[in-house]
Amino acid sequence: MKLFPIRGGIHPDYRKELTSEKPIVALPLPRLLYLPVQQHMGAPANITVQPGDQVKKGQVLAKGQGAVSAPIHAPTSGRIAEIANITAPHPSGLPQNTIILEPDGKDEWGDLPEPLADPFAATPQQIKDRVAGAGIVGMGGAAFPSAVKLGLGGSHKLEILLLNGAECEPYLTCDDRVMREYADQVVDGARIMAHALGTPRIVIAIERNKPQSLELIKKAAAAFANIDVADVPVQYPMGAERHLTQAVTGRETPARKLTADIGVVVHNVATARAVHQAVRFGRPLISRIVTVSGNAVREPKNIEVPLGTKVAELIDFCGGLAETPRRIISGGPMMGQPLPDLDVPVVKGTSGILALTAGEVNERPVQPCIRCGSCVSICPCGLVPVEMAAVIRHENMDAAVAWGVMDCVSCGSCSYICPSHIPLAQYFNYAKGRLNEQDRERRKRDLVKRLVEERAARLEKAAKAKREAAAARAAAQAAQAATAEANRVNP
């Protein structure tokens, strides 16, 4: 099919060969599972179990709350050992409320919702509810609740469900393995999602460096006339939602709009597989495929991991560390987040665990900008990183917004290409964080103002009522006195 060029981008050393030929292996059940209540974007889930409760595999442990949220299920049967604050798999290293499950080894399934016999006869709402109930979130890394995205069909006119199998991050091969080993499930999941969204067309986009995936998905999709398989060029960040949409449709998503506004909804291939399992078998999202890679790992692998497994157990399963890593990263090396240590759990959005050596990280001292313009020519969003970083360095956030910092997708291409090793993407992440903080402060200030005004109005009203009551009482007393006087004068 016809493809369109995308702007900028880089061609890093992909290093996928470390794990691309390693079939998915299942991890034996760990001794304890740690399930944070927030493994997704939006509101944290609300815990519905108590320490000491016996739970079955697939049972709900925490319910989603609010419009954007997702429930959490037991990855295996066992006992709730504790609910405690445990270090989250997050660069801050801050603690998060976590359910600790002690597996009993029986791995017994609980009551699952009935499979939908014919998903294509079900209403979109039924499929959406099933996906929401299964706790499925975007598995490419962003972990946005998938049911919310499946509901976009109601509010937008959609043409294409774009299944993202680009996997443009170096090292990661989990999506590649899913497509190779579960091609039929991915295609079935995609058809179910397209039915829920009401999109007539499905495009499955895969980068050309995954020829086996392309071939197997093409074979699995051959029976369906509405599915196209696109072999997109190898170019980072091809797998970014907006860029993949542009590569496939030629349409650019306007700033601060969704791809749905131009008729495209993007889902990850692993999400499609999770939807297949939830709809066809009623199974919730309780495990995921994780690529464990990097030169500091003895035997890199693709592993099917029960959610809540500590990263240290994954590393042990891969033969341990060959040397002390310089960085441990959750996700890919370009957009992933550094982990504070190995003592954090795998969550729904963990696509990879990379233990990188000092040689791979290639840290260099920051040097002054030489204004070479490399960052400008490679920025896939058409921004000017050099100018944005300069104004952010001087805390001039208004100017940063004017230069378009909120349109930056934090792909890190500029940091990668910079010959002076300036951490440009970190400047932009810092600016976005500061701007969000300012926004929260502004909202709080508005709230405080409103409350003060309401209180003043209430006090004023109460004072007025008091004055009126006093006046009425005085009038009544005067009237009484007058009557008494009249009675005294004229008995």
Binding site: Q38, A88, H90, P91, S92, L94, Q96, L321, T324, P325, R326, R327, I328, P338, L339, P340, D341, L342, E363, V366, I392, R393, I422, P423, Q426, Y427, N429, Y430, K432, G433, R434, N436, E437, R440, E441, K444, R445, L447, V448, K449, L451, V452, E454, R455, A456
Partner: protein, 182 residues
Amino acid sequence: MLLAVGSLTVMGAALGTVLGVAARFFAVEGNPLEAEILSLLPGSQCGQCGFVGCGQAAAALARGDAKVTLCPPGGKAVAEKLAKKVGVRVDLSEAEDRGPMVAYINEDLCIGCLRCMQECSTDAIVGAPKQMHTVVSEVCHACAKCFKICPTEAVEMRPIAVTISSWHWQKPGALQAPPQVH
């Protein structure tokens, strides 16, 4: 010569009329800077600046009669914004930035006297006579009036802890510490 005097007189009269009319019709009521300053202040009328409320403080700032560091609940952040708005330079490096704070009532010490509740301008304190009180931290803006009035020193001003949802990346500086691997 008469021609010159006459034409200048006519021009003077005409332009004077235009200016007079413009002054009347395009007159700005109040100082627009005052409204802009007011929007930067917390608006809780706590009175700690020495003025009756934020409006009076904004007016004084707009006239140049008050310092930009006048607002204790606003702290360093508001002082910086005010300095930028009124166009003065202020050295805040000395000012200690306590960051955002919130009031907290030590329930063991609270005697339920209601004084803090009546003092609170945002209704952030809930309680009843002879029952312990508590602070709804989402609406507390740390004016510290309750802290000053409490007869048993049960109120503490605590910094708001950073959570995962409020955390963000720091500005690039020193290289990051390597992960802790045991």
